[in-house]
Subunit: 344 residues, 2 copies
C-alpha cells in the first residue's frame, strides 16, 4: 500500500516545520502567518492531495467525532429508518456513525458497547435489550455520554428519548371500542422491556375504562425474537376461542407484519370479520388490502432529538433529559371507520 501523504511531506516540500503546516491547514494563529508561506502550504497540500489522518488527530485530541448506535436489528425497518435519520443528523453535527445490532441479547449489546468504547466513540445512542440495566450502569461508569432511544428503564436516572406508549395504546384501543369491538385480542411480547409493557397497560386500561373485562385468553405474548410460527399459533388460538375475538391489536411492526401475512392466507376479511390495529407504521400499513389503522411513531423526531441530546451532552455535560414524544393514531380501513388523523 502506497504511503499516505502526511504533514511531514508537505513540510519538507515547502521547507518549513510540521507545526506551521498544521497551523495553516487548521486556520489557527490567524493573521500571524505570512500570506506567502500560507499559500504555498495550501497549494502543496492540495497538489499532494493531502487528507488528515483522523486516527492520529483523534489520538491527540481525544475526540473521534464518532457516535455509536446500538439497535435491535438494523435489518428491521424500524431500526433502519431511525438509523438513517440519525446518520443524517449526525452528519450535520460532523459525526460519523458506527452501528451494531444486539438481536435483543445482552451478550451482544455488551460486546458491541465494548467495541465502541474501545474505539473511543464520543457518545452512544442505545436501544437496550431486556435486562441491560447492568450494562447501562457500566456505561455510566465509563463516563461516555449516551442516550437511550425507544426503550428505557423506569428506575434508572439516564437520558432517553421514547414515545408515550401507554397513552398511544390507550387511544388506539379506545378507537377500537368506539368502532364497536368488544373482544379485542392483543399480540405482544413476553418481555420485561417497559415500553412494551406500557403498550399492554394502555390496552388493558382502555378496555377497563370502557367497562370491558379483559379476558386473559385475549392476551398472547410471543418471544421477542419471534418467528412466523409463534405469531400464527397465537392468532389461531385467538380465533378458536369459544367467543372469538372481533379485533386484534398488534403491539409492534414485527408481529403485525408476520400476523397479517397469516391473516392474508386465512382469507379473513378485514375489517368485516376482524378489525385490526397495529402499533408502528411499516410497508404493511398501505400494502395490506385494507390500509391499517395504526399508531404512528414520530421516528424522525425521535432520531433527531436523540442526536441533539447527545450532542449537547458531548459538548457540555448536563442534567438528565427524559423525553416521551407523542405518537399519533392514524385511522385506516382496517377498523372500518373513516380515515382521519388525530393526535394522541
Amino acid at each position: 500500500m502506497k504511503k499516505k501523504v502526511s504533514l511531514k511531506d508537505i513540510a519538507q516540500k515547502v521547507g518549513v516545520s510540521i507545526a506551521l503546516v498544521s497551523y495553516v491547514l487548521n486556520n489557527k494563529k490567524q493573521g500571524r502567518i505570512s500570506e506567502e508561506i500560507s499559500k504555498k502550504i495550501r497549494d502543496t497540500a492540495q497538489k499532494l492531495n493531502y487528507r488528515p489522518n483522523q486516527i492520529a488527530k483523534s489520538l491527540k485530541t481525544n475526540k473521534t467525532n464518532t457516535i455509536g448506535l446500538v439497535v435491535a436489528d438494523i435489518a428491521n425497518p424500524f431500526s433502519s429508518t431511525i438509523a438513517r435519520i440519525i446518520e443524517d443528523e449526525a452528519e450535520k453535527n460532523n459525526y460519523t456513525v458506527i452501528v451494531g445490532s444486539s438481536d435483543e441479547k445482552e451478550e451482544r449489546s455488551k460486546r458491541i458497547i465494548n467495541v465502541m468504547l474501545d474505539r473511543q466513540v464520543d457518545g452512544i445512542i442505545f436501544a437496550p435489550a431486556a435486562n441491560d440495566q447492568p450494562l447501562i450502569e457500566y456505561l455510566q461508569k465509563s463516563k461516555v455520554p449516551f442516550v437511550l432511544i425507544d426503550r428505557y428503564f423506569p428506575g434508572l436516572k439516564v437520558n432517553y428519548v421514547a414515545v408515550n406508549n401507554t397513552e398511544a395504546s390507550f387511544t388506539g384501543v379506545e378507537h377500537l371500542v368506539m368502532a364497536g369491538c368488544r373482544r379485542i385480542g392483543f399480540i405482544g411480547f413476553k418481555t420485561t422491556l417497559s415500553h412494551l409493557q406500557d403498550r399492554k397497560k394502555g390496552y388493558q386500561s382502555a378496555l377497563k375504562k370502557n367497562g370491558i373485562t379483559v379476558s386473559k385468553s385475549w392476551i398472547k405474548e410471543v418471544p421477542i425474537d419471534t418467528s412466523a410460527e409463534e405469531v400464527k399459533e397465537a392468532i389461531k388460538a385467538l380465533l378458536a376461542l369459544p367467543e372469538p375475538i372481533d379485533a386484534l391489536f398488534f403491539a409492534s411492526n414485527k408481529v403485525s407484519t408476520l400476523g397479517l401475512k397469516y391473516i392474508n392466507r386465512l382469507g379473513l376479511k378485514v375489517p368485516n370479520d376482524l378489525k385490526i390495529l397495529s402499533f408502528d407504521q411499516s410497508d404493511a400499513t398501505d400494502l395490506f388490502y385494507a390500509t391499517l389503522t395504526h399508531i404512528r411513531q414520530p421516528l424522525d423526531e425521535m432520531g433527531k432529538v436523540a442526536v441533539q441530546t447527545l450532542v449537547e451532552l458531548m459538548t457540555r455535560p448536563k442534567k438528565i433529559t427524559q423525553i416521551h414524544l407523542p405518537a399519533k393514531l392514524v385511522i385506516g380501513q382496517s377498523t372500518g371507520v373513516n380515515t382521519i388523523e388525530q393526535p394522541v
Copy 2:
C-alpha cells in the same frame, strides 16, 4: 471525563515497563516472560478494567479493523438487509462497520468515501451511484481495497459481487409470457446504472425471443430517487393505453412497493385484471393480497461473498474477482399459475 486506564497505569502499579505489559497482554514473546510477573500484570489489568485504546493501536499498527459500507439508503430494506449480513460476517472476521447512505448522489458518495478514507478504514464495500466511475478510479489510486456490491461498471477492472440481472429478468418475463401475457409493461429507472439497464435488457430480449414486438409505450422509467407520484403516473399511463397492458414488471422493490400501494387503491384484481412480476423480495411479497411472483436475490450470499472477497484483498492483494450470483424466480399468486420455485 475520568481518565481512562492505559498500559502506563498498569506498568506503574506493577512496577515494570510499559513494553512488558504490552507483551504480556498481547501474548507476544511467549515463554520468555516469568509466570509470576505475567500473572501480576494480567490481574492488575483485570482489576483496573483495562481496555486497549484502539485509536492508539491503529495509529501504530496502521490497521483499524474497520470496513466502510456505502449503500444507497440504509432505510431501504434491500440495503439494510445486506448491511445486517455484512455486519455479522464482518464481526466474524473481527471487523467493525461504518455505514453511509449515498442517496444515489455522486457528491454524497464522494463525501462518504472521503470520510472513510480519512478514518483509515482497512477496506470498503461500495454500492456506487450512477456516474461514480471517477470516484472508483480515485479509490483505486488510494490503494485501499474495495469491492463493489449489487452494482458494477462493465468497463472497469474492479472487484464486484452482483446478481445475474439480465438472465433473471429474462426468466421472469418469459414466465409472464408462458402465463399468457402479451402486453407486458415495465417500470424501471431512468439511469445509466448497468444492473438496472440489464433488467430492462432481459425484459426486452425475453419478449423478442417469444415473438412479441416491444412497444416503446410499455416502458416507463422513473427517476432513481422517485416518489409515489411518478410511479402512480406511470401505472396510470400504462393502463390508459389504447391496448392496455395485461402484466406489469417492476424492476425493483422500491417501484414495486410504491406501485402496489397504488394498485391497491385502484381496486384492480391481481392476477385477473393484471399480472405482476417484481424484481426483489420485500414485505410486499407476502403482504399483498396476491403473493408476488418475484425474482429473489441471494442477499445473504451477496453480503457474505462481498465481505470474504474484501477480507482476502485486505490480507493479500489478489487478482480481480467479478462475481454474478444467480437470482431465482419465486412464483406466487400474482401471475396466476401454481407456486413453485425454480432456479434461474
